[in-house]
Symmetry: C2
Subunit: 187 residues, 2 copies
Amino acid sequence: MYVTSRDERRHRSETAILAAARELFAEVGFERATIRAVAAQANVDPALVMQHFGNKEALFAAATQWPGEHQRILDATPDSLAAAALDDLLAHFEEADDRGGAVALMRSCLTHPTAMQVMRDQVMCERQAAVAGKLTGEDAELRAGLFAACMVGLGMARYLIRLEPVASASQEDLHRLMEPVLKALTE
Amino acid sequence: MYVTSRDERRHRSETAILAAARELFAEVGFERATIRAVAAQANVDPALVMQHFGNKEALFAAATQWPGEHQRILDATPDSLAAAALDDLLAHFEEADDRGGAVALMRSCLTHPTAMQVMRDQVMCERQAAVAGKLTGEDAELRAGLFAACMVGLGMARYLIRLEPVASASQEDLHRLMEPVLKALTE
DNA sequence: GTCTATATCTTGATAGAC
DNA sequence: GTCTATCAAGATATAGAC
């Protein structure tokens, strides 16, 4: 009498491995997170990790997908851009189901080639483009780029470097203090 | 008839190794920069690198010292804080003799334990404290921390991730667009 | 001071038993 | 599907000749 079919067990292993990988990649980055450590944390055999994902790069890619579209920004009016972008950031890092994946991507985005490419092309460039689309006047692209840079700086300080008191500040305080900052770039 | 004494040759090797190390650490980070590659780039034997610096950590520490004090910020008036901090950043990354060392530190500050500690304690915290000392009113520390976060974001986007058009913007444009941004935090 | 040779360790990845 | 055993490659670091 089997309570777990083969497919169920496979799926269970896979999610356990993915969760462990996200956590380790987020903590120590791509290079220092070993397949063995991921397997140990997921309570499976190291060879099983390879069986499921093929190689470490593929595991990393599966574990670090950026949560996605900048819908909040695209829906915003020029005046609500700053608030929308902040909501976007906070949602990705503090509310998303796979929020560890966002930290994992950022953790390695300075030292891992494909992580850097994803970070630049899919995160920063897209955000920059979404913002630039709402701007009028001179230097729209550059202002949008600086906007994206400030957002990245905030994310790094709060979630990666954990600089205090930025790391423990309330979402309300961040909105209150950062919105005027970002609005200096959008108007 | 010796034109190079032992001390001279030693000094010459050491500076060549340091320059090569700075360059490689800046390019690919601590993990992916191997002693062998550093030695090859400096045209010396790998064992010589060990002889001079003992181990890879010590080499990294020697190659990545942050250029130093935030004198410009400490000398600034509250009103010139933003301009002073920008000058400080631009000087560290575009004019300092060992400017590669600043990139090297930043490159690894998310994945290397001591690089992260240096970045947080000696770069961000000090900058935050220097800024906070000039601020009055509510949330001085948090505002100074967000100030430091924006500066880090700008540095990462411009020098590490090379997001365009931020990476190629002129110093004048950066001052013109970023000063109002930072001033939203200092007044 | 510099280099050759190598010890030692750790990694990602594979082969095959069960 | 899972695990045991192992490989091959690459790393840091060391010992000793010159």
